[in-house]
Structures are given as structure tokens and as C-alpha cells.
């Protein structure tokens, strides 16, 4: 484990370095507060630090305050090691953010025990953080595909919309629906169906940029948020995705399953609209893609037209919607 020693007095620093090394620590020694501050700001900074109180540049108390103000995680467990050892000194040191306090000259056994206590605290903190991150992941990701779940991808859309409005840029969304997915489940069963959804998710993730967001919106429906793209670019990217999804059958234990997807594209062009408006437009375009034969991409028209389209689709009884394959009347 790495440990930082900030000590301007060479004899103390050398002793600390020797004993800490003999206990298995990887010791980094600096002789002033500013050098310690440089190291402690790094993401891979040592999680244990022994700081002298009085040092040139920045003293131990200032360092404690700056570290605590800088971040909560990753946590730095700080032991102040100093000759200042009155009750008020100890109170001041702990109030500044130190976790422990040891008077000079240090007793080796006491220092070793206090550092062991510090490691226990850090270990517990690691467990708590790992547990919290696991819960956070579960709350924001779809269990089957590992993609962002509906709420998380909607959050991404909301954030990107706000950014696009702020920066006066455009952004696109793509609503994706796996064609004839009900047939896949009916024909092959739910496990191969799950494999299809998982593979579609993987294929989309493989094709989008690192700052695009892909989420499972529900059932066999996915939502992709594509920042800084105009209508044509969003359409082209969606069409590439469509081709990529269809380029090879999904291999499952029950055999290869040929799949295609239909997509509806909508773009924020600076009009006042919320995430629901944009999703509604993409959804209306997706309906058109389904109606027009599937395995295709359709662009949303204007927001007004999209609303009219949605209303028209909603007003149709299932018998009015035809499908070339004679599959269920609903376009999905």
C-alpha cells in the first residue's frame, strides 16, 4: 500500500521511510507541503498520509483542510505527526480534517497500530463504496442487456437536451424496435429471445460513439441519444446501425436467429421541447418505419406533424393497419 510522508525534517523523514518500508509500505517522501499537495490531488494518490504540522509551503493543517475540500473520494486517511501535542493542538488538527494524531518522537509500535487502524477504516470505506456503486449500477442499468435502463437513458436525454439548448447545437434521438420480436419469443422461447435483445444491445453499443447513450426503453425497444448531430447525420448513423444489427444472425444455443430492427429518428433543432416531445416524434417515425415495411429508418417531420401522426396512428383500429407478413396488426 502506498503511503505519503510529508516531513521537512530529514532525520524524522528518513526514520519514517525506513520503518514504513520494513512494514511493507510503498513510501513516498516529500519535504514540503506544496509537494504533498501536488501528489494528493492525483487520482491515484496514496490513501494513507503522514503529515508534519509545520512545513514550508503549506502546513499540515492547511493540507488537511485542502484535501477535505478537494474531495470525499477516494478518501485520504491522514495522520498528523508533530511535536505540537497540547489538547488544543489535537482538537485543531482533528477539526482541520486529520483522522489521527501522533506526537513526535513517534513510538514505532504505536505508529504501526494506528496505521493498521487507518487501513481498517479505508478497507471498510472501500466496501461501502463498492456496495453503493453496485446499487447505483443496478438502479440505472438493465439487468438483461447491461445497457442504461429507461430512467437512466431518459436522464441522459434530458441532460443532452439542456446542453444542446445551452450551447445552441442540435442533437438526435433514435427509437429502435426489434422487428417481429414476439415471433422470436413464440418460436424459440424466452431464453433465445433474451439472447437476441442482449446481442442487439451489444451491436448498437459497438457502433455508437463513447459519448452517445444507448438504453433499453422497454421490452424490445431501445433509445439512443446522439449529441451534436443534425437530422441527416442522425439518420445516416441510425441507418448504419440498422445495417449492422441485420448484418449477421444472432447465434443462440437454439440456432441462428435472423433479426432486423426498425428505427425512428427525431432531432432537436432549437425549438422549445422536452424529452417527451422528442421521444414522441421518434416514436411516431418508428411507427411509420414499421408500417412501411420494417427494417428501415424513418425521420420525424416537424413536431406538429409528429403529433398529428401520433394522433392518427392512435385513432386507427388494429384492422386498419396492414402488414405484409400477415403478422399481428399492431406495427410492433
Amino acid at each position: 500500500m502506498k503511503i505519503l510522508v510529508a516531513e521537512d525534517e530529514r532525520i524524522s523523514a528518513r526514520q519514517l521511510q525506513a520503518v514504513l518500508k520494513s512494514w511493507g509500505y510503498e513510501v513516498i517522501v516529500v519535504s514540503d507541503g506544496l509537494a504533498a499537495w501536488e501528489i494528493l490531488q492525483n487520482a491515484d494518490a496514496p490513501k494513507l498520509a503522514i503529515l508534519d504540522w509545520m512545513m514550508p509551503g503549506k502546513n499540515g493543517i492547511e493540507l488537511c483542510r485542502d484535501i477535505r475540500n478537494l474531495r470525499q473520494e477516494p478518501y485520504t486517511y491522514i495522520v498528523l505527526l508533530t511535536e505540537k501535542s497540547t489538547l488544543q493542538d489535537i482538537v485543531d488538527g482533528m477539526n482541520a480534517g486529520a483522522d489521527d494524531y501522533l506526537a513526535k518522537p513517534f513510538d514505532a509500535k504505536e505508529l504501526e497500530a494506528r496505521l493498521r487502524a487507518g487501513r481498517r477504516v479505508l478497507s471498510l470505506m472501500d466496501e461501502v463504496i463498492a456496495g453503493r456503486e453496485k446499487l447505483r449500477h443496478q438502479a440505472t442499468h438493465d439487468l438483461l442487456t447491461g445497457l442504461a435502463n429507461r430512467r437512466a437513458v431518459r436522464d441522459s436525454l434530458t441532460q443532452e437536451l439542456a446542453r444542446a439548448a445551452r450551447e445552441q447545437t442540435t442533437m438526435g434521438v433514435v427509437m429502435v424496435d426489434v422487428d417481429h420480436f414476439k415471433q422470436v419469443n413464440d418460436t424459440y422461447g424466452h431464453l433465445p429471445g433474451d439472447a437476441v435483445l442482449s446481442e442487439v444491445g451489444s451491436r448498437m453499443c459497438a457502433q455508437v460513439r463513447s459519448y452517445d447513450s444507448v438504453g433499453r426503453y422497454g421490452g424490445e425497444e431501445f433509445l439512443i441519444v446522439i449529441p451534436r448531430c443534425d437530422l441527416q447525420t442522425t439518420f445516416d448513423r441510425a441507418d448504419s446501425l440498422r445495417e449492422f444489427i441485420a448484418h449477421a444472425p444472432v447465434v443462440t444455443p437454439d440456432g441462428p436467429i435472423t433479426i432486423t430492427a426498425s428505427m425512428g429518428v427525431a432531432v432537436y433543432l432549437g425549438e422549445l421541447c422536452g424529452p417527451d416531445d422528442l421521444i414522441g416524434q421518434a416514436d411516431a417515425a418508428l411507427y411509420r418505419a414499421k408500417r412501411n415495411g420494417r427494417n428501415r429508418v424513418e425521420m420525424a417531420t416537424t413536431a406538429g406533424e409528429a403529433r398529428a401522426e401520433q394522433a392518427r396512428v392512435a385513432s386507427l383500429s388494429p384492422s386498419h393497419v396492414t402488414h405484409p407478413a400477415g403478422l399481428p396488426a399492431s406495427p410492433r
Binding site: D8, I11, R14, A18, V19, D52, E83, P105, F106
Partner: protein
Amino acid sequence: MTIDRCDQLVSVMAFDPTPMLARIGADRQLYGDLVQMFHEDVPLLLGDIRAALASHDQEQLTLAAHTLCGAIGNFTVSSPYDLAKQLERLARSNDLDNALSTIDALTRGLDQLGAALTRSLFQAGG
């Protein structure tokens, strides 16, 4: 404790390296290095202290006196550690006249401690 009294005590004080050796796992090579550092650093710190006194730089005087305390405290918390502590206290209260009067006794005490440390290298088997 008066400065004169400290001076007398140092002159008859036998230095015991046992606590320091216990702290560093009886590493005699390291002990020798630490004593060497003492001999190198103490004159420099005394120089810093004198310079700070000459320029009435209270902050620098306090820091140098504190560092000197730390250096001595590694080996002993008897005199001349007490004198260095006294100097640090005087520096903090900006009592530079009395701080100046401490320097000579402190220097003598450090010389005696330095000699005792050198002798201890042989006692410690170094």
C-alpha cells in the same frame, strides 16, 4: 530551567541510543546515517536561525527553530532539546532579544550532543 543549568547538564549527560535503535528496529546502519544527517543538518539549521534573527524574520525563525527541535527530538528530549523548544517559544512570541541570547548555549549544547552521538556509534556497534 536556566540556560546555564542546561549547559551543565549537557556537559555531563550520557546519551542513550536505545530508544532510537528500538524505533528503527536496531538497524545500526540506519542509525549511523541518522547521526550523519544530524551532523550535516544542525549547522545549516543554526545558520538559518542566525540569519532569521539578523533579518528579524519571525516566521523563518519559528520554522527553523521548530525543525531543529524535531531534529534533536529524534535523539533526546532532554537538553539541548529544551533550549531549542525555548527558542521556538521565544520566536513565536517574537521575543527576538531573548531568542538571540539563547543561541550560544544552544550551540554549545548541540556540539556536546553531536559528540555524544558520535561516541554512541561505537557503543551501538556502528
